[in-house]
Symmetry: C2
Subunit: 184 residues, 2 copies
DNA sequence: GCAATAGTGGACCATTTGGTACGTTATTTT
DNA sequence: AAAATAACGTACCAAATGGTCCACTATTGC
């Protein structure tokens, strides 16, 4: 009963992700969010407790969508998945790099729930990476180390995207890295 | 003639670096800077044009000090310098990681002069890395590629420092990476 | 059609922001 | 010591911030 919302929660989140991604939590004003989502203050504050809550929800949705893509779980497990994981750095939501990696800088100032989601997600990615490595190289303790290096490298290329290098350069870099780690 | 300053420019910059490093340009208020430096507004605005100017000066000093340490120019050139370069991620000024890497997230919102300093510095580091690689492996085109990977990896470990992993973990990671690249 | 209800837009609020102006204080030079 | 001067502390400013409130509007179920 009563009026119907002119927006959907997911649509708002998708728009919010883009602006949080680009400018971070602190540098994004509620006005920015109104403009980007097309939803007024009252709508936003009806749907979300406050700006931080909206940020947390955005971060959660970001990973939900990424996980749904199944980059690291597609069969067969192996190098291909690893390479596609690295290519996530090309971006989405109209943005470059990775929302979470970009948010890592202000990690200490983020809402605890957002931090938790970020930490859990990287842990999960690490675990999935190990699975993919094991499929290629068999079980072994060094899969853990290598997975760690891959995550670190991923963070690095995501960050570099902010410098706005052309896609060809980053593709080359990914190939170089893949060659490096497949060779061992 | 007249009164003497109660602060030195360099001392202010060193204090400012720490707070900009931790919170970024946008999230650092002038009041934060007053508190951290112990210098009042009038003092700060007498020494620097505005907040952005202070940020640029901080970034410049950061690299001046790093360059003075000569991490990548110490003789003899080689793997040792590369490893010490990676260890820069342990931090300084009481902060973890790298001021410039941490600022990369808000790159698009930074003052142009700051961006210029950052780009020039990474370019310089890249060139110096190639020199160190050449000393170990001889000249070759792939020194350029490898130097790129090293810079990317460096960015990655710097970022990860924000998650606050213990030093032993990151040391292990650096060793893993060094082993990986020395082996090829 | 009408009352109940849910959503919207905008006025409004206290606080904080970056930045300026200026009177006061300390020190140097003569 | 006194004039000159440079730095300091503080009051102040307009603008923007995150957030609340409420009159109004549209839609629902009866």
């Amino acid at each position: 009963m009563g009026r119907r919302k002119l927006f959907t929660r997911e649509d708002v989140l998708d728009k919010a992700i883009a602006v949080f991604w680009k400018h971070g939590l602190a540098e994004t004003s509620v006005q920015d969010l109104e403009r980007a989502t097309g939803v007024g203050k009252s709508g936003l504050y009806a749907e979300f407790k406050d700006k931080e809550d909206l940020f947390v929800a955005s971060m959660r949705r970001y990973f939900d969508v990424l996980v749904a893509r199944g980059t690291l779980t597609n069969q067969p497990l192996g190098w291909n998945n690893v390479e596609n994981f690295l290519k996530v750095c090309y971006g989405s939501w109209g943005q470059k790099g990775c929302f979470s990696v970009n948010s890592m800088r202000e990690f200490s100032d983020l809402p605890p729930k957002a931090r938790q989601i970020m930490v859990e997600s990287v842990t999960k990615a690490h675990r999935l990476l190990i699975g993919n490595l094991a499929a290629e190289r068999g079980d072994g303790e060094d899969n853990d180390s290598l997975a760690g290096l891959i995550i670190t490298f991923f963070s690095g290329i995501c960050l570099e995207q902010n410098l706005g290098p052309d896609r060809a350069r980053i593709t080359k870099k990914i190939e170089d890295f893949m060659q490096l780690i497949r060779g061992i």
